[in-house]
């Protein structure tokens, strides 16, 4: 990431964003040539160029729901930026343009790449959300299973108690019988 510093004090660096509609390849190349021609007329020196490519727009601009962005970094005399601004305004196929003076020590970031990265990461964020949902569901299922296991255990215990009680009674009866039938006992 190169930092921006004007070569001389008379020159300043400008960042120009241009939004143009989706065109056929020939027209697009012609338009870009013309736009770069405006800067060449003024004697500006290109530092960097960042073509974002096709992007969806937040609202329709002259009927276009999609557009192309190009961002230029030019070094030029500040007195002549007005001519470029005027030319860009007159140019037919330029929907929007914005001229900004970046602050001192500004680092050029290629947002065409970072945006794509972000798009990929955002998908992963969605995946994380779905994963969290699945985990919650799994937890709920596990809880239900535990509750069911507990209930079944309790039922079994009750059943075993029910089974044991008659066994105990039978044993008692047997013992009683033994006691009764015991001849050694003298009362």
């Amino acid at each position: 990431m190169p930092t921006l510093q004007p070569s001389t004090e008379e020159h300043t660096i400008y960042e120009i964003a241009v939004l143009y509609p989706i065109l056929a390849q020939k027209e697009e190349q012609a338009l870009l040539k013309e736009v770069e021609g405006f800067f060449a007329e003024v004697g500006a020196k290109q530092i960097a160029k960042d073509a974002w490519g096709r992007r969806g727009l937040a609202y329709p601009v002259e009927g276009n729901m999609e557009g192309n962005f190009v961002i230029y970094y030019y070094e030029m005399e500040p007195a002549r930026i007005k001519e470029v601004d005027n030319n860009l305004r007159i140019e037919k196929n330029v929907l929007r343009h914005l001229i900004v003076k970046p602050p001192k020590g500004y680092q050029i970031v290629k947002y065409s790449e970072t945006y794509e990265q972000w798009l990929k990461e955002r998908e992963t964020v969605d995946q994380v959300r779905s994963r969290e949902k699945e985990e919650k569901l799994k937890e709920q299922v596990a809880k239900k299973a535990k509750q069911q296991a507990r209930r079944s255990d309790e039922q079994r215990k009750q059943e075993t108690h029910e089974v044991k009680k008659p066994m105990v009674e039978g044993e008692l009866q047997k013992k009683l019988d033994k006691l009764i039938s015991d001849d050694t006992l003298d009362i």
């Binding site: 609202y59 557009g67 929007r96 970046p102 970031v109 945006y115 972000w118 990461e121």
Partner: protein, 80 residues
């Protein structure tokens, strides 16, 4: 990985919330940086008040200019 942004929707305790831009020592907020600007606008496209997001006044002013520039270039919506 992006941080979880659900904190922007919760009603916060303002004193306990540090400014997210002060933590990174940002001097300039770029209008081209869509992923950072997006969470500071609500569903209708309005800028979230700093009371809710915890952004300090200095960075809120930078944010405002960045969002307004992004709106002009149709990267963010004026109104949904």
């Amino acid at each position: 990985m992006q941080p979880n942004q659900s904190f922007l929707q919760r009603r916060p305790d303002l004193k306990s919330k540090p400014c997210p831009f002060c933590g990174k020592q940002t001097k300039y907020i770029d209008y081209k940086d869509y992923p950072t600007l997006k969470p500071y606008t609500d569903y209708f496209g309005n800028i979230r008040a700093k009371y809710y997001t915890g952004v300090c006044l200095k960075h809120q002013k930078l944010l405002r200019t960045a969002i307004e520039r992004a709106r002009f270039l149709a990267m963010l919506a004026y109104r949904k």
